[in-house]
């Protein structure tokens, strides 16, 4: 543990007052500017959002169990999948990894006492809560049925609290911008001495690339939603063809944000992957530079591919051509990462504890999700597949099979650091196996449904699809059981879990150099970094280094 002992940070035996107990009372949480407490509050909030979106998903699938009405009417169904998409995207997955886990570990990993702007960090959290409140208000006052994409002119004319919902997303956008801005400055300015760019953990690189997208893309979403709200309230005629506007323009605006947003969702997950794969293989990452730079490449190119969501929406063939080409370019950096992670396993010392199980799931599921993106990026095949369940399956494989598994893996990885306790490893294994089975049963069937022609956002379907829909629905029960179990053993660990040491996994980045849970100001003295984050000892130069 060279970097740690050099910094002289872990004092065996003595446990000091942790950030969890440093101050008491509810207000000491709500007003805190400690990035760790803000991270924990974010974690609770995004998990609640995940629960909300997840319950909606279970209801969506339950409705599709039979043709016609199973448990709800068409209008309710349409509100349900919209709620599901909006909650999962804006409330859960975009803030998920950066604002919850990232907030907690980013300053620790950098060897800093906090993020650059702690107050802005707290503001971002409360803005998030405001946005969540507005979204919930829109849901209880009737809900919206526009789909998460808010396509005009439907969204500009249909009745319902659409303005409230768009303004909720607008507000959530600002929370996301502030988090991103804060992280960029933190990475630039708050690194401990010796923490060069080449020694940054790859999670930091990923969060950094994410933050760039958050800062650059989200303002465009904000203005788009504002325009939509004005279209509804005063008919300014930008998007509504009845008033001289262009409905396809809305799609351009929307995807200009929302395509980069899918990389806001996946990049942090990829960052977690690099940490998990190395730590649980005890091996230095294969291709550090390639992985770090590919994150930046993804961030940059992702701004130029939005039109691949619109191949059949009436945009020009040549615009489509450019978008298709760039879509393939942006797939290459993802491919590089997948290959590098696989290569990292080679001749490692692989430990299959819970975080690693989720990492391996990511590797397999994300690969399926990414590869099926190729069918969609290819113009000729996207004609057939666009807006079918094939697309639904594609994005669940990348978002759930990718980001969610990484999030869960990261949660299990940093859990002992956050709360100082270990969880039940056996139950964790059962949970991850249940998820793997349930996930594939649910969503692999949807590829077949989609390529055979089943359109998405369908309340009802023709008979030939019944069997596949039923299999898919049954799969969700396994997913539900998996998460319920996880919730149970994680909560239990808070009370009864075994005490975790400073570094239960033998990891080498700086967050493991301070005690678990960390003290309020992270480090007594700012550590000086001497080497990269993945310098694990190997048998090649003997155990002396350990």
């Amino acid at each position: 543990m060279s970097s740690m002992t050099q910094a002289g940070l872990v004092h065996e035996g003595e446990q000091e007052i942790s950030y969890l107990r440093a101050k008491k009372g509810i207000w000491s949480w709500l007003y805190t500017i400690d990035h760790k407490r803000i991270g924990v509050m974010y974690l609770v909030a995004v998990l609640l959002a995940f629960l909300l979106g997840g319950v909606a998903a279970l209801l969506v699938r339950a409705e599709l169990f039979t043709m016609g009405k199973t448990i709800m009417e068409a209008d309710t169904y349409n509100r349900m999948f919209t709620l599901h998409g909006l909650a999962m995207v804006f409330l859960f997955i975009i803030p998920g990894i950066p604002a919850a886990l990232g907030n907690f570990v980013l300053p620790l990993m950098l060897g800093a006492k906090d993020v650059a702007f702690p107050r802005l960090n707290l503001a971002s959290f409360w803005i998030y809560c405001t946005g969540m409140g507005m979204a919930l208000f829109a849901i209880v006052s009737g809900g919206v049925d526009t789909g998460w994409t808010f396509y005009t002119p439907y969204s500009a004319t249909v009745s319902g609290p659409v303005v409230m919902m768009t303004m909720a997303a607008f507000v959530l956008g600002f929370s996301s911008i502030f988090t991103g801005l804060n992280f960029i400055v933190t990475v630039h300015k708050m690194r401990a001495p010796g923490m060069t760019w080449g020694r940054l953990p790859l999670f930091i690189w990923a969060i950094y690339a994410t933050a760039v997208i958050q800062v650059m893309a989200t303002p465009v979403l904000a203005i788009t939603l504002l325009l939509l709200a004005l279209e509804r309230t005063m008919g300014i005629g930008i998007f509504d063809p009845a008033l001289g506007g262009d409905p396809v323009l809305f799609q351009h605006f929307f995807w200009f944000y929302s395509h980069p947003a899918v990389y806001i969702m996946i990049l942090p997950g990829m960052g977690i992957m690099s940490e998990l794969i190395t730590t649980f293989s005890r091996k230095t990452i294969f291709g550090y530079r390639a992985i770090a730079l590919s994150s930046i490449a993804i961030a940059v190119i992702s701004f130029l591919v939005w039109g691949h969501h619109m191949f059949v929406s009436g945009q020009s063939v040549y615009a489509g051509m450019v978008f298709s080409f760039l879509t393939f370019l942006v797939a290459i950096p993802s491919a590089i990462k997948v290959f590098n992670w696989t290569a990292t396993l080679y001749k490692g010392s692989i430990d299959l504890r819970a975080p690693m199980q989720w990492a391996l799931q990511f590797l397999i599921l994300f690969t399926i999700g990414g590869l099926t993106g190729i069918f969609l990026g290819t113009m000729g095949t996207d004609i057939h597949l666009h807006d079918t369940y094939f697309v639904v399956a594609h994005f669940h494989y990348v978002m759930v099979g990718g980001t969610v598994t990484a999030f869960i893996g990261g949660l299990h990885y940093w859990w002992p650091k956050m709360f100082g306790r270990m969880y039940n490893e056996k139950l964790a294994t059962i949970s991850s196996v249940l998820f793997f089975i349930g996930f594939n049963v649910t969503f692999f069937t949807q590829f077949i449904l989609g390529s055979r022609g089943m359109p998405r956002r369908y309340y009802n379907y023709v008979e030939e699809f019944q069997q596949l829909h039923q299999i898919s629905t049954v799969g969700t029960w396994f997913i539900g059981a998996s998460f319920l179990l996880m919730l149970g053993y994680l909560l239990a660990s808070l009370r009864t879990g075994a005490k975790a040491g400073a570094n239960p996994w033998g990891a080498r980045s700086l967050e493991w150099a301070t005690q678990s849970p960390p003290i309020e100001h992270n480090f007594h003295e700012i550590p000086t970094v001497q080497e990269g984050p993945y310098e694990f000892p190997t048998t090649v130069d003997g155990p002396a280094k350990a």
Binding site: V312, S349, L360, T367, T539
Partner: protein
């Protein structure tokens, strides 16, 4: 519906472009399989082979990169993807430009039905008649929100955008029937916005085209109630009206015949044959109290025979 069931992954190939589209699909599919199997096999093998057996076991390699391998796995996928791109673009171009001699049919989408207008001045609703073995170009527009015209068996799709025209073309190979879906979300009955392509033998098509009458537009020798019931579904009346008393977008038609119906801003009317006919042709003339004026007019899209059959069916709903 159609002749065969297609393959495991794809519906039957019923248009001339379907085969071209599917061979690209297959190419990408096998590319995917190769990469997926490669990655999975490597992962599983490494995990099994290098599994940590004791707590202090260290890794046996500290290789951190290899320029040759890295260059290979950057460039080989790049080349393969450029192939996908070029092939996909060519196919898309082929699909966007209809042959000059294509028969043109207009598609008018609206919530939640498909109207088709033919060059001979006739119109049909939710039933599209096309000849086999001849290219057909669909000129698509929408009266209200976005919709999307999708025939899986033909591998064609294009959004219907209000205020502009989009198009697809296809050449159906054999006589038969194929499902039309709306694939752009358009509100309550998006999933009820279905239609059927009826491919007729070319000579039969020509005959009917000249006559200006499509099969299914006359009720020659059919039981009107039974035929009306079919029309009630195929013309998507059922998207907005239940026949069992539940309220959808419009009032349920169960037991409606003979009732006194309250009208917004006017005296109540008795539901009789004339009122039903008027409701279908000019629905906004009298709006049932408590409902929006949401029903589209079916003027020109239903023949007299069809309306009579619908009336007979509605009468029968006790």
């Amino acid at each position: 519906m159609a002749d065969t069931n297609g393959s495991f992954w794809l519906p039957p190939q019923s248009s001339t472009v379907a085969a071209a589209s599917d061979s690209l699909f297959d190419f990408i599919y096998w590319l995917n399989v190769i990469f997926f199997v490669g990655i999975t096999v490597a992962t599983v093998y490494f995990v099994v082979r290098y599994r940590r057996k004791s707590d202090d076991q260290l890794a046996t390699s500290k290789v951190a990169h290899n320029t040759v391998i890295e260059a290979a796995w950057t460039f080989i996928p790049l080349v393969l993807l450029v192939v996908c791109f070029a092939w996909g673009f060519r196919l898309f171009l082929h699909q966007s430009v209809a042959p000059g001699d294509a028969l043109q049919i207009e598609v008018r989408a609206q919530q939640w039905s498909w109207g088709f207008a033919y060059g001979n001045g006739t119109q049909t609703l939710n039933e599209l008649y096309v000849p086999a073995g001849r290219p057909v170009k669909m000129l698509i527009s929408s009266k209200d929100v976005l919709h999307s015209f999708f025939v899986p068996d033909f591998r064609v799709k294009a959004d219907a955008v209000p205020g502009r025209y989009t198009s697809v073309w296809f050449e159906a190979m054999e006589p038969g029937e194929h499902q039309i879906y709306c694939t752009e979300y358009c509100g309550t009955s998006h999933s009820g916005m279905l239609g059927t392509v009826k491919v007729l033998p070319a000579d039969e098509f020509d005959k009917m085209y000249k006559q200006g009458m499509w099969p299914g537009q006359t009720g020659a020798g059919r039981d009107p109630v039974e035929w009306g019931a079919e029309l009630f579904t195929s013309k998507t009346c059922n998207a907005c009206h239940s026949v069992d008393g539940t309220r959808l977008v419009g009032p349920s038609l169960k037991g409606v015949f003979g009732k006194q119906e309250p009208i917004t801003g006017g005296p109540a009317v008795a539901v009789d044959e004339n009122y039903i006919r008027e409701s279908i042709m000019d629905p906004n003339a009298k709006i049932v109290e408590g409902y929006p004026p949401a029903m589209p007019s079916f003027k020109g899209q239903l023949t007299d025979d069809q309306i009579s059959a619908l009336i007979a069916y509605i009468k029968s709903l006790k």
